[in-house]
């Protein structure tokens, strides 16, 4: 089974909300110093899903990431978990692309890679969180798409996918090739095994530019963007929290109970 996994390197979502800063002029987030970027949490699950399929069915996993040169770290992370190789898609023209632009770039890269049975993405990016790129990518590639997968099993030419819905699950059968977006309910991703960690660290990850993948400048032109961000702001939330105290935790709890019983 040949699988391609799309992964994104994002600002670490785990920072104190008070430290979250933006520049309203450039409409960018200002990362707090000293906090390294991380792999988007759902993309890590997508790699895990790919590795589980490879454990059972052998095959090849290729990881691709559109981002800065440091995005090589997430490719290495993917390789340490079990991917065979990967590429970083980095070009000035790729910066600040919208969902359509991103999907287009990924599609051209996948076209360059060649044959595949399955494309895996996280259900949404941990930063902008739109949850669109996977489906748009599937439409561009002309393959079926299943979203919010929490389990994927392969059999001959089809995949049996368990999908999350608000009151339970659906089980679907999808033909290959197809695209699946993965949700965190698939379970915890594996710890990169010892030897792979060192091997991945030493690997040099190739960088593909716009011309390497044959991306048309018109499609990357910001003037042709499908959506653009016109404003970015941090909502101010000011609530005065009344801390309910007590000599012991139990006493504080009793005081809270009294307070609440008046409300409900």
């Amino acid at each position: 089974m040949n699988t391609i996994v799309c992964v994104k390197q994002v600002l670490d979502p785990e920072i104190p909300p008070a430290k979250f800063k933006i520049d309203p002029e450039t409409k960018q987030v200002i990362p707090p110093p000293g906090v390294p970027p991380v792999i988007s949490v759902y993309d890590e699950r997508a790699i895990e899903a790919a590795c589980r399929l490879k454990d059972k069915h052998k095959g090849k996993i290729t990881a691709i990431s559109m981002g800065a040169e440091k995005a090589a770290d997430v490719i290495k992370h993917a390789i340490a978990m079990g991917a065979d190789d990967g590429f970083v898609l980095q070009d000035a023209a790729f910066e600040n692309l919208d969902s359509f632009g991103t999907a287009y770039v990924l599609a051209k890269a996948i076209q360059k890679i060649g044959e595949y049975d399955l494309v895996l993405c996280g259900r949404q990016a941990a930063d902008w969180g739109a949850g669109e790129v996977g489906s748009i990518l599937a439409e561009i590639l002309g393959i079926p798409v299943v979203t919010f997968a929490c389990d994927i099993q392969a059999a001959d030419t089809t995949l049996r996918v368990k999908r999350l819905v608000s009151d339970g699950f659906e089980v679907l059968e999808a033909p290959m090739p197809c695209l699946i977006t993965v949700s965190s309910e698939i379970g915890l991703p594996r710890l990169p095994a010892g030897p792979r960690l060192m091997m991945a660290r030493k690997k040099v990850i190739p960088v593909w530019k716009a011309q390497d993948i044959g991306a048309e400048p018109a499609k990357l032109d910001k003037a042709n963007a499908h959506t653009e961000v016109t404003a970015l702001s941090v909502p101010t939330r000011k609530t005065e929290c009344e801390i309910i105290a007590g000599a012991t935790p139990e006493e504080a709890a009793a005081n809270l109970a009294m307070k609440l019983s008046k409300l409900i």
Partner: protein
């Protein structure tokens, strides 16, 4: 393999020939879904601001019977696709029907609920039609100068709000969570057109088939409807400890929720997840236990009337949004709280 199949367009078509609002409606248990009623109201409002028409697409064998009701809520046109293959959501089928309709009707704005269906359908439609999509919007407005739809949505786990527009790509699409906008007012005297959708679902277009549906029975009150929610986070530390939250919830007649880390750990089922990648709740009382209050979680519960926080760390972000708080170990606080509430209840 060539790109550009299935109508993927590069967004370069003219937007002048796109007019009006189209709401992609949902039918639940043979009735219009509450979120659809809300969206019809919103669609009406946006269409009025633009001076254009508002339409609704209903899919499924019950669609025809609900058309009048949709008109009463504010639709000028109701497009009805009465096909039993559309009775249960199927991604390929719904995308096919909705996309074809859009290519005929050419709406300027398209609205969907941020629901199981909308989360899957909206991005696919967007990909197929080449429009511009904003997911999980908290506010929609027409810019008076440009007449463009400005969609505001939470990003970075809710730490920031981004406003997006589509200058040229059409349709301008948005998904909105249930209970974000008020339901439409019903006016039975309203008039409108009921138009059957041309073309049936092409079975060959259905590549992905639903084989099974597994409903998880929620014990007690449903999370989305509960008046009281007791929610646990990473600080709970294990699945057996959630029993304390269940006890408190049952005394208060409420439901149990959880943050994503607690669900990812497997301490509670995924459907209890409250937050940006889970459910939105707006109960009277929301008690956050062992929850740091990461914005991604708060995105799901800030609509609550009263938020109470119980956390060991006084610096936890939850205290900046809570109305009441107790700093301490929930293992000692919760049982005492439950006991006292029980006592006061019986008094």
């Amino acid at each position: 393999m060539t790109l550009g199949l299935n109508g993927y367009s590069d967004g370069g078509q003219t937007m002048d020939n796109h007019k009006g609002v189209l709401v992609c409606g949902e039918i639940a248990d043979g009735k219009l879904a509450p979120v659809t009623i809300e969206l019809i109201g919103l669609g009406r409002k946006l269409a009025d601001e633009l001076g254009e028409q508002s339409s609704v697409l209903l899919m499924g064998s019950k669609a025809g019977g609900l058309a009048q009701e949709a008109i009463a809520y504010g639709a000028d046109n109701v497009y009805v696709a009465e096909d039993s293959l559309l009775d249960h959501y199927n991604s390929d089928a719904y995308t096919q029907i909705a996309a074809n309709l859009c290519r005929q009707v050419l709406p300027s704005i398209m609205l969907l609920g941020h629901t199981d269906i909308g989360l899957d359908l909206a991005p696919r439609l967007n990909g197929r039609l080449g429009g511009g999509l904003a997911m999980d919007c908290i506010a929609l407005a027409i810019d008076p100068a440009t007449k463009l739809l400005a969609s505001t949505r939470p990003v970075f786990g809710g730490n920031a709000h981004a406003t997006m527009v589509s200058k040229s790509a059409r349709p301008q699409m948005a998904t909105i969570r249930p209970k974000t906008v008020p339901p439409a007012a019903c006016d039975a005297s309203r008039q409108g057109q009921v138009i059957p959708v041309e073309g049936k679902v092409d079975p060959a277009a259905i590549k992905v088939k639903v084989v099974e549906r597994i409903k998880e029975q929620a014990e007690g009150v449903k999370l989305e409807d509960a008046e009281v929610v007791v929610s646990g986070g990473r600080g709970i530390g294990g699945s057996q400890n959630f029993a304390m939250l269940r006890d408190l919830a049952s005394v208060l007649g409420g439901a149990v929720g959880a943050s994503r880390p607690a669900c990812d750990e497997g301490w509670v089922p995924a459907r209890l997840q409250v937050g940006q990648s889970g459910k939105s709740v707006s109960p009277k009382l929301y008690i956050a236990v062992g929850l740091s209050g990461a914005m991604a979680h708060l995105a799901g519960c800030l609509g609550s009337q009263v938020i109470v926080a119980i956390n060991k760390d006084k610096d936890a972000n939850i205290f900046s949004v809570a109305h009441f708080g107790v700093v301490g170990d929930y293992k000692q606080i919760l049982p005492a709280l439950t006991a006292k509430l029980k006592e006061l209840k019986s008094a």
